[in-house]
């Protein structure tokens, strides 16, 4: 059905949570996005990155997963139902952070905003508040609880939106460029948080991003959209960043380390294989050098 298989690694055999097959959406003004090519798949417990240039259709794809847009062609399945038609059946299982967080914050104070979903789902007030405080704590923003969301700084708003998405402990987390506007320390913290959510609670996370450097650390696998929406490339970060021509299709620059190692190898074929984290890279480079020292 699709050309790629997820039959390697720890996810082999995992349940499919999301599948998108050749979906087309035409906006009112005639702009058409055709998410075809490969099928998009997300498996239970997987962290999936969606890459692609501006305007390629990442947000459009996520909106289909959230049932906000209805496909005119092709099929979208989330938890085995069509999200556009049966959203009420699955929405409790899904947490969302949209690209423009300003639109997402609804309540008059931060704590009310984060407690919005549990209250709407009818949880007791005490539990709603406890969940909200826990979520704020996860993101390290307890001190913002009584502020007015509208008055926060850009990065603070995004953290509040994240807390609101996590508060119901969803099985599927959909994040549209969650790193935008976060400072580096918060980025790292968020990356760690996502890893632990995926590992400990088996949460499935789908994230669109332009921050290539977070991909190796974050993603189990990634999809790359080409302009117009074509799902052009699929692979693990290692596969993806190993070959420059694959990336060129998605108009993507490899992470700095990948580029560094690629360029080193051009000069010296004996240079080590690309490392994707700084500590791996340090080890690899030290090895490389010491082996040179030992050789003669």
């Amino acid at each position: 059905m699709h050309e790629h298989a997820h039959d390697h690694g720890p996810l082999a055999g995992a349940k499919e949570v999301v599948r998108i097959s050749c979906v087309r959406h035409t906006y009112e003004d005639g702009t058409s996005v055709h998410l075809c090519g490969l099928d998009f798949l997300a498996h239970a417990g997987a962290r999936v990155a969606v890459l692609g240039p501006n305007g390629s259709g990442k947000t459009t794809m996520l909106f289909h997963i959230l049932g906000l847009l209805k496909s005119q062609e092709g099929e979208v399945r989330v938890f085995d139902v069509s999200p556009a038609d049966e959203w009420p059946a699955i929405r409790r299982r899904i947490g969302v952070v949209l690209q423009n967080v300003d639109e997402q914050l609804l309540a008059p104070t931060v704590i009310d905003d984060v407690a919005f979903s549990p209250r709407q789902y009818g949880l007791p007030e005490a539990e709603s508040l406890e969940r909200a405080h826990h979520a704020l704590n996860l993101l390290g923003i307890d001190h913002l609880a009584d502020r007015v969301p509208h008055n926060l700084s850009g990065g603070e708003k995004r953290k509040v939106a994240l807390a609101g998405a996590l508060v119901m402990d969803p099985e599927l987390l959909v994040l549209d460029e969650p790193f935008e506007g976060l400072d580096p320390a918060s980025r790292t913290a968020l990356l760690d948080l996502m890893s632990s959510l995926a590992r400990e609670r088996g949460m499935t996370i789908i994230m669109s991003t332009h921050d290539i450097d977070t991909v190796p650390e974050f993603a189990d696998y990634a999809y790359v959209l080409a302009p117009g929406g074509r799902i052009a490339v699929y692979g693990t970060p290692e596969e993806l960043f190993a070959s420059a021509d694959v990336l060129a299709e998605g108009n993507i620059k490899p992470p700095i380390l990948a580029e560094l190692f690629a360029r080193l190898r051009e000069r010296d074929p004996g240079a080590p294989a690309p490392a994707l984290s700084v500590s791996e890279a340090v080890d690899a480079l030290a090895d490389w050098k010491s082996c040179a020292e030992r050789l003669p």
Partner: protein
Amino acid sequence: MDITAVDRSAVLGDTLLHRAAPTSKLVGAGLLLGAIVTVNDPLVAAGLALSLAGAAAAVGLPLRQMLPLALYPALFAIVFAFAAAPGPATGALFVLKAVTAALTVVTLMFSTPYPQVFAPIQRITPTIVGDALLMTYRSLFILAEKFSDLLRAVRLRSGVSARQPVRAARATARALGGLLLYSLDLSQREYDILRLRGYEGGMRVRRQVSTDRSADVAALLYAALILAVVVVFRALPHELGGYAWLVTVVGAVDLTTGLLIGRRT
């Protein structure tokens, strides 16, 4: 209509009234409206208006921001009084009723976050009406915000030059047209988000309980007392009519003390 100021005061304020339960405040406002409908002596009505303003000042509500909203209806009431009242006394009564009623609701809105006011309304209206009421209020914020963004953007990106009014008017018209469509789309998205985050029609809000029993008691007692005074004066016009000025004086004293207390805290 500075709706963000209302919201800010309602959410961030911490006065005695803020601490009372919304239900008490709604009941109290109802009692006061009853008094306003009942009152038929301008001197009593004046006392009521003064006393209410005094109470708002005493608890520390931002009277300066509230007054413009409360006095706005007076404009219309004056016109109405000129047109319809048989005499100056009745005319004054009409105006005072309008101002007092406005002051009542404005006091409520300045001390109670809007979800708390809307939740009971949503409970008694059809779902779609309650939903739409909430969306309207949200859209008001969006519009207000978008409008100030617009003004800021215009200022940053050129400023409207007074020397070219036609050009300025055309740009404004274009911007307003865009604003209309933008707000339609944004409301749609806002509603989507509400639904994404679990809204199913009918806002479920935290049952805000009173954090200060005495605040509820004070609010209800105050409203009941006023209603009682008004009813007594209405029931015994011949016996008490001559003493109505006393109510005005008491109101004036209320206002003075209220302002003094408000300044102190």
